[in-house]
């Protein structure tokens, strides 16, 4: 069974994000990390590949840089990685991203593609669905639990009121929520092995496609700020200040 996990390298979320002057696009340092959201997809992919005697390939689009984030995912146990890295992809929107990923995945061949629900830096939240449409397969989205065999996949799909049980045959695209599985931490051996695993970089010419128009950001302005109010140290009677405010707001 050929399992593919889509993973994205992003600027470390614990550092302040900066936008490029002029384009409004996110500035990406050479060292990027694996999007935390994608660790769930990688773990899910590893478990499904193992249970069904298959392989897990990582597919990513974006500047390779030091490839630190991709190595993180390889260190968890994925077999190989394919990165589509092309200067014309800067500022790529969700559709362009999905087209590129679909072309790379199509070239690899797949039975099941796993993605996160939204990326931390882009959070378009539509790449998985677009990918499924372009590949002509079902999109089983927002999975909170997954059972996959070699020809069928069954998920609990998050809904507003609870969850639905959704099934389809393979091939399919699956998007998983955080918490669907507990991602493993790479072992020392995993980290060493990851350095030797195949990491292929492709350009758009290799895939025979062209980048679409980039997302146009026409302005970035400070939002109206909310003023901080009163701050008091609890001396054992702070709850009374809350009561007073609730009365004032006519909540009680």
């Amino acid at each position: 069974m050929r399992v593919v996990a889509c993973v994205k390298q992003i600027p470390d979320p614990s550092t302040p994000y900066k936008l490029e002057e002029g384009t409004g696009w996110l500035l990406r340092p050479n060292d990027q990390v694996l999007d935390d959201t994608d660790r769930y997809g990688v773990e899910m992919g590893l478990q499904i590949a193992q249970a069904n005697g298959g392989t897990l390939t990582l597919v990513s689009m974006g500047p390779t840089g030091s490839a630190q984030g991709i190595r993180q995912a390889l260190a968890m146990g994925a077999d190989k990685a394919v990165i589509v890295d092309d200067a014309t992809l800067r500022g790529a929107d969700a559709l362009t991203t999905a087209r590129v990923l679909a072309a790379a995945i199509g070239k690899e061949g797949f039975d099941l593609v796993i993605t996160g629900t939204e990326s931390t830096d882009g959070y378009a939240g539509v790449v998985p669905q677009m990918l499924a449409e372009l590949l002509g397969v079902p999109s089983l989205t927002y999975a909170t639990s997954v059972e996959a065999s070699s020809d069928q996949v069954k998920i609990h799909r998050q809904t507003v009121t609870g969850y639905d049980v959704v099934t389809s045959g393979l091939p399919a695209v699956l998007s998983v929520t955080a918490g669907v599985v507990e991602p493993r931490y790479p072992t020392f051996k995993g980290i060493m092995d990851a350095k030797k695993k195949p990491l292929e970089t492709l350009t758009l010419a290799d895939l025979g496609i062209e980048a679409g128009p980039a997302q146009e950001v026409t302005g970035v302005n400070p939002a109206p700020e909310r003023e901080a109010g009163r701050k008091i140290e609890d001396d054992g009677s702070a709850h009374l200040a809350i009561i007073e405010l609730l009365e004032q707001k006519k909540v009680i």
Binding site: A94, A132, R157, T161, Q215, V217, D234, I242, I243, L245
Partner: protein
């Protein structure tokens, strides 16, 4: 100008996230609602009252909506050429929007907090960096597909007559077909997060899953809904349906009480537009205090029980 609004159903009627967007859409042009569910006179009346002249009803039955509904909408959009198709940032809507855009070969602007139409497409505002900055993005295409965050607009009836009902025939999605074989609803009691006037939310600072009972007790006398940060949802303390923030719900209650919540930007975007914000946190430098009208620097384990006692004895 023709503007389509995708509206999901909830408990038999049009869901509020869709109705909110209708309030905006009717300022932009003539509105067609795309209703995901089954048609009834009440549905046509509610949609008409919110500004829809026409409703196209898409009922996928036991099929997952995404593929068949996107296919049918793509065909309709190609023949009718609406200027824009607006969706709410909710599960089925996002699924349909993504597949529809890929099918039509057009982009999507998602996470919008405001939408405007331009001569050749649309322009949207997006809160970035936890809502400290507003980015404006533009697309030039027809239809402009936009996904709007819930609570960006207020749902208000406009007093229109019932929408004219038309059925949208859904094609066989072939290999892309997925089936919904069961539906499960969680126990829902008390006010719901999306529409409660008061929300009491907790973060990791409450210390344990068991301590969430204290939050539920505090909510009772306030007739409040209970919320949570992603940190405690991911830890399995409470279900995802309680998550407030970027990847959870956006709430705008009159009063929001944050207990043991640090105030990460992904949490703030979901609640900072609340009327009055009260925060309890033992760290005087916690970012949540920068948006709080009343900040209590203290131990939740001390302050909350006293607050409950004071409320319960009233």
């Amino acid at each position: 100008m023709s503007v389509w609004v995708f509206v999901e159903s909830s408990e038999g009627g049009p869901a509020s996230a869709g109705l909110e967007i209708m309030s905006r859409a009717r300022e932009l042009g003539e509105v067609t609602a795309i209703y995901l569910g089954s048609a009834s006179d009440e549905v046509a009346a509610t949609l008409g009252d919110h500004g829809a002249a026409r409703v196209l009803v898409a009922d996928p039955g036991d099929r997952l909506a995404a593929a068949p509904v996107a296919a049918a909408l793509a065909a309709r959009a190609e023949s009718e050429q609406p200027q824009a198709i607006l969706f709410a940032q909710t599960y089925d809507s996002r699924d349909v929007a993504g597949r529809l855009a890929a099918r039509l070969g057009v982009g999507v602007l998602s996470n919008a907090n405001a939408v405007r139409l331009t001569d050749s497409g649309a322009e949207t505002d997006h809160e970035v960096f936890g809502g400290t900055e507003i980015a404006t993005a533009a697309i030039e295409q027809r239809p402009a597909i936009v996904i709007v965050r819930p609570k960006s607009y207020t749902a208000e009836p406009a007093g229109g007559s019932p929408a004219a009902v038309e059925t949208l025939d859904l094609p066989d999605a072939g290999a892309a077909e997925a089936k919904v074989v069961e539906s499960h609803a969680e126990e829902r009691e008390g006010p719901q997060l999306g529409d409660a006037k008061v929300v009491v939310a907790a973060g990791r600072g409450i210390g344990s899953a068991e301590a969430y009972e204290m939050i539920e007790r505090l909510a009772k006398p306030l007739n409040a809904a209970t919320g949570a940060t992603r940190a405690i949802v991911d830890s399995g303390w409470v279900p995802y349906s309680k998550q407030v923030g970027q990847t959870g719900k956006t709430v705008k209650p009159d009063v929001y009480i944050a207990v043991g919540i640090s105030g990460a930007m992904q949490h703030l975007v979901g609640m900072k537009d609340s009327g009055t914000i009260i925060a309890i946190n033992k760290d005087p430098d916690a970012p949540i205090f920068s948006v709080a009208d009343l900040g209590i620097v203290g131990d939740a384990g001390q302050v909350v029980p006293k607050l409950i006692e004071a409320l319960e004895s009233r």
